[in-house]
Symmetry: C5
Subunit: 354 residues, 5 copies
């Protein structure tokens, strides 16, 4: 589940740009992959020492350095020093509770995104922070854990599918963002199904459990919104094209991702609207049930309380009660009671309480 606030408290007071290992960091060595390509050639290798990728700084080909795991502060610092990355970027890479944002530095564009994954088991969304540092010929991507949604892109690079080998670093950055946003669509789809199920259940039988999961869903939506909404601004900043790092041809593609982001937001908003409608529905269902319970009670009580009064009368022990001696009195009383009960039943039928 998402957390309300995520900034590490122990960070407060440190000078800006100080690197602090995120609490959630897995105590494992980072996995570094270097992909190097241009129109003609392509190279991919997994490296163990960060220094092994330093030579790509001066290469005219596009380099994509992907780092899984934020545990090794020293390595990240070395990387930053070599490539001239501003310490504030590195601090933000390590602060895994960032909201999506874009910062323009002189030589780099710094982009923070949330990679979302629907966790079928907990019926909730897992979020992993991905930071992209995009330079002239280089994209450095940081992930919290290994496992990502970038395999189709790696494949396209390997096989030279599409425009990717012809594009520059900005196109690669676009492709990575696109892959992340494309995966967002799975989530509203999942929630859409859950909501539809829930609507059916709400009609058939409103239970507190359903209301509980309704509430949880609303909660998820709040946080989903928080993860997707700022993205709009990130991408529109890129489109506005003030950075010289983004080529005009890439802007067309970014516009496409922008549309997708809006579409995801639209779905989230619609879900929110539907969910608040369902709260009303639950409430009305509850009061409907209450109405029915009360009707049963009222019908039973209204029919039998007067009858009980009548039989009570003839249970009195007065010496002089003429009716008691009449021959057919007992049966007459039965007749009266059946008539009374009958007319009440008819009355209730007419009022649709039965």
């Amino acid at each position: 589940m998402f957390k309300l606030s995520g900034r590490k408290i122990h960070n407060a007071g440190l000078p800006p740009g100080t690197l602090v290992r995120p609490e959630s960091a897995v105590a494992m060595p980072a996995k570094i992959t270097l992909i190097n390509y241009d129109r003609q050639q392509y190279a991919e290798k997994e490296i163990s020492r960060i220094e092994d990728c330093f030579q790509c700084k001066d290469s005219p080909a596009v380099s994509w350095i992907n780092i899984d795991g934020l545990n090794d502060i020293g390595m990240i610092e070395k990387l930053g020093t070599h490539f001239g990355i501003h310490p504030l970027m590195l601090e933000d890479v390590l602060n895994t509770a960032q909201r999506p944002k874009i910062d323009e530095y002189e030589d780099y564009l710094f982009i923070v995104l949330k990679m979302l994954k629907y966790d079928e088991e907990n019926e909730s969304v897992d979020s992993e922070q991905v930071s992209l540092i995009t330079g002239k010929n280089i994209v450095i991507s940081f992930q919290e854990r290994s496992g990502d949604v970038f395999n189709p892109i790696r494949d396209r690079i390997r096989k030279g599918k599409g425009r990717i080998r012809e594009g520059g670093a900005d196109y690669l950055a676009y492709a990575l963002i696109d892959a992340i946003v494309d995966n967002y669509f799975i989530i509203p789809e999942k929630y859409g199904e859950i909501i539809e199920n829930m609507e059916d259940n709400l009609i058939r039988e409103p239970t507190p459990e359903i209301f509980q999961s309704l509430h949880n869903l609303k909660r998820e939506m709040i946080f989903l919104r928080k993860a997707v909404w700022p993205l709009r601004e990130v991408i529109s900043t890129m489109i506005r094209g003030e950075s010289k790092l983004i080529h005009k041809t890439t802007v067309l593609y970014l516009r496409d991702v922008y549309d997708h982001t809006i579409q995801v937001m639209d779905s989230v908003e619609s879900s929110r609207d539907l969910l608040s409608g369902m709260v009303d529905m639950y409430m009305s269902s509850m009061s409907n049930r209450m109405n029915e319970v009360m009707k049963v009670l009222t019908v039973i009580a209204t029919i039998f309380i007067p009858l009980t009064f009548i039989v009570g009368i003839y249970g009195m022990n007065f010496n002089y009660m003429p009716e008691l001696g009449w021959k057919w009195a007992y049966f007459a009383v039965w007749g009266v009671m059946i008539f009374l009960a009958g007319s009440m039943v008819i009355y209730f039928k007419k009022r649709k309480w039965l």
Copy 2:
């Protein structure tokens, strides 16, 4: 019914511009109609091979290529290549879960719209995506299925009614958008009637079924809004007239469509407002009913419980109960009880519970 999210999941990861047949595509050959006209002459033919319309690229007359059915990817690809249409446009044509949008490319204006049809049977709205690619002398329109709202326009072209034969491709694009928006008016009208009916029913007899359809209607409104709202922006982008493809004279007409869009949105918003008022109404009706049920119970119980107590007293078997021996005691008790019941009835009448 509308779907919450519609992007095809299997699209994720493909390079941008890859054409994927939409899931909803009907497995039928596409129907291609070519209409070619200028002030003097007019030609209309249904063609089976896409190549048959290629020559109109260089024709000075306005060409309208209408394609019903998105099944034949190969054909669409050929069309794109011949007319120099950017692959991103073609991808969006095939992605039938787009929200309405406009994209400006160098030689073309790409517009996505939703053609809405009220389905009397399901009391819901059917939506079909229409994409317009507008070039200098050409409009290419893509529809998901055959059957559309463009017949009056075809007629106007055939008979040379109005300005249509004098206008260029931009005027044709306007006319198509206008036809689609004009048909939107039918929907709030329909819903307006349903809402009015529902209001009457809510007053007369609030049932969970009415609440259910109230909820469905709110749902429809959410999605209707989603289909119409972005249109505002689409048209205002066209009006702002930054594209050289749109002539000044057409802008006047676009302003007219813009007003219509606003009017439709206004109706949708008003309906939403009315519907939330009706949720309150339902809730208040429910609690009103409950009040009445409770009043019946309370009146009956309050009248008879004390009476039953009284008759219980004289049913006790104490050896020494002086009243039991009195001659008129029985009738006196009756008198007391009638008096009690009567005064209670008066009391309840005064409190308006009866």
Copy 3:
């Protein structure tokens, strides 16, 4: 009552600028009045043939052609042709379901307004569309029916009161708009009274009927808002003064109307806020009533059910029940019961249920 959607469906598909008689048009010949004035002189006549006012096109004096009734399409067409009015304007004149708007054409300013009248009988608002076509020396006003709020203006023209005879056509247009907006103030005033009455009634006795009229009032507000809100934009467009048809001196006056529009909107918004507060009030009143009903039931039941139990005990027929034989047992039971009932009454008094 207002309608949710008003565009005539049979319009859809016609070429833009086609004139269609509005459904609501009264089948009567239109009444045409021509007022012609400048600083020195003044002429007013009712004319029967539209051609009789054609000569005023070239007159340097200000001409005000007022047309009551939209039934005679042919006449309107002739008028349009002679004065060079764009067909889209005429189409909009006839479409009586327009929202207030302003369109700038080359030689004319086209303004659509709603003339509102409070209908005492139905406690609702009547709306009539007024269209103003303002040219250099001419104002053409179209109304749906005869009967309007312009008499004071006619009077001011006749008697030369105020600045009106010195102002141009733009000042006349301002005066007409001002007269319409001034009459808006009557409506929130009326509703304000109704709301205050309703608040008193809600406190004294909440009935479903009051809630029903509360809902109706909310409905009226939705539509009133729809009629007034766009006016703000209409007038601010005029103030911004981009049209050469509006003189600088008139802008001062328009600013005044603008303030009035805002004031009306303010009242409508306040009414809306008050009305939603009143829904809460109604709901709370209802649950209050319920509480009271329940308290009565509970008090009666709680006092008498235990007593009935006690008298039931001594109604048992066991052979050996020692109490039955005791001399004062009957009176002792009475004592116990009175004590019980009394202490309960005290308990309920303390809990403020009585």
Copy 4:
């Protein structure tokens, strides 16, 4: 109490700039005070004929003409004519239902404000309209009644405290606005106290009366908002400094008033938020009470109804009921009943209903 709409209906139709005595005007001669000052000297006098202040038009010193009472139309007209004040300003001075606004005329700045006073007795806010006409060396202020919040300013002028004698007419206007806004702070403070009291009462004992005053408070907030909100715009218009009548040095001070206005608005908004939270609280309190009432009823009924049934059994008159003859049967029945009642009490204790 505030009124929903305040424009005088009898105004409608009059030419703009016509002066109409406000309905609320007190039938008393206006009180005119003239204060004349510069750095060196200072003069203050009460005058009875408006002509007595005409000479100050040409004085290089700052003149402050304060007029209490709007009854004397003739006098106001004379004043307007002499100082060249546009009739629209004078009309607005007399229309005491204006919302706060600023209008820039050629030689004057026209500002309308609401002077608010908390009326302890009615626990509501009194509002009086103050209009300021600020010229080059002159400020003319109009008030509805005598009695204002300007005494500290008069004092500062008399004693030459602060910058006031050094500032121009714009500084004086600022000082007057500042005095009015400073007095606004008293109102949210008062309401803050009332709200806190109310919260305590709501927790202890929610009565319809509290809800009623909650509603009244919400109503007051709606109108308070209406009086303060437009002020923001008024002052920010002055700060933007497009008028040559406002000196740069005064802008610093206006920024200060602006901050105060925002602060007051903030308080009003917070109060509104708190009040809607309190509606929820009231509702929940009500349903809580209902729950408790129902629990009492249910506990009593559930304990005694089965017992009454048991004693009913042994009140039957069958000839053959073996238990009736058993020696200790009566006491056994008592035992059973005590056990039953006891276990129910324990059950209810466990469910926390007792």
Copy 5:
């Protein structure tokens, strides 16, 4: 707890720039600390007479004068006079009920912030106003009380950690703001925990006490929002960099604080959303409970009322009641009653009321 309105009433009417001791000021001499540093050297001293820091005005090194306690008006006035600080700034320093704001003066930037501290004991937030006057080489900070969050910064200055000794006064101001904002993160974190606890409790057992603290939390959020929201504007004003006092290099860092502010606001907004969801949850829980109570009552009443009626019948004393004489009648009646009760139990089980 926060107060709704905080401006001191006795301020109203005083000339602007008059210094008034804040009510909340502790009657203790102010504690003045002077820190003086540049790249090479560093000096820190506590001074008792304000005159001791006057010489730093002309020092090229950066001076940070921190003043704890606002009791000594005279001292603050002297400080203002010596450093040429506008009286409006000093007035605002003393008005401890300011909302966060930034004002640009000629030589100084005036910033007001709220230092927030979570008070574990009262489960509420303590707020202290911090004012920063930033000049060319000087930062003067005012605090209401001693005790702050600036110790890490003092430490960084002493030890020359990070960039702080190299930056100018603007960097110091940034560092102070950053320290304050960093401490904000603790608060949503705390509230996040409380909210999660509360959610669990709401599900398990909704009590009025929980609702009460829910309401309190909403209240806290309203005021927290009020303290943080304006900060966004403060910092974005600084970033926009129109002031010559803020260097370009500092802007990068300010952008970082800006992001943090947004993140805090996001958390506050999410909490607000969650809290309103929880109000719904509480309400639904309440009505759920009510439903259960009613079901118990209905089940008991519905089973026993008819049975009591039956035993009542055979308690009647008619002379001729054939059943009374039948041998097994008593047991037959038992059989009938057991059957009745049993089928009712089954019926209720089927309706899930048991």
